[in-house]
Symmetry: C2
Subunit: 134 residues, 2 copies
């Protein structure tokens, strides 16, 4: 076998802590503000653009379209356009997308279920602290 240790050593192991690692880019897409919610929403099945817009509170059409395109380019989301008028476009998760969505959903559900245990989740009563990142 010519697949020696030297050859194997040339294969870079992904490390998110490295700024230039592609995994960093993927992580940012998946954990982006709307990316997380899109993955969770689509984990139950396909949805139309307007349905996603209604389902995900607070998302703008611009951000929804942009984030869907990013996730599609990454290979997590599948876009299927039926050529009819008015337009009908279905979005769904690829097998890869389902795997990622599962991890993301685990986090989301943990937050929902444990919200009362999280001090920062209280509606910041009289705390004069400058609450960053919104």
């Amino acid at each position: 076998m010519s697949g020696s240790l030297e050859t194997l050593a040339a294969i870079e192991i992904p490390d998110v802590m490295a700024a230039a690692c592609p995994s960093r880019r993927i992580l940012n897409h998946v954990t982006s503000r709307w990316g997380v919610l899109i993955l969770v929403a689509l984990s139950r099945g396909k949805m139309r653009f307007s349905a996603l817009r209604r389902h995900i509170g607070g998302v703008s059409e611009r951000m929804l379209a942009q984030t869907l395109q990013t996730l599609e380019a990454d290979g997590f989301v599948i876009r299927k356009s039926h050529n009819v008028v008015p337009p009908h476009v279905d979005y769904s998760l690829s097998p890869l997308g389902h795997e990622a969505a599962e991890k993301v959903a685990d986090l989301v559900f943990w937050i929902e279920e444990n919200l009362t245990r999280i001090p920062g989740a209280l509606p910041e009563e009289t705390t004069p602290v400058s609450a960053k990142t919104g």
Copy 2:
């Protein structure tokens, strides 16, 4: 029992899909660009500010300090300052922080392990697509 169904119905169940739900804010903190990496970094034990800065590639002091403050305010991170000169400050995870970090780390590790399966992880060779969100 006076704890009737009406009373129970008044308790709001957290839903990230609702824009105003506090869970949304927590989710944004935990999945923020540097929040994710801080949680993963601290999941192995306490670290000093400068050690975190070196460990997390690409993070600026400004963003590190800001994100640490947000996670501390949420109750995920514990800041312990030893009053010495030069300053010595240790950051660690609270029990709650460890739970959250576990979920986040699951996602991060999945991305690292499956990176080669993710089409969008390729260094975008000659694709003329406008790659958003960096």
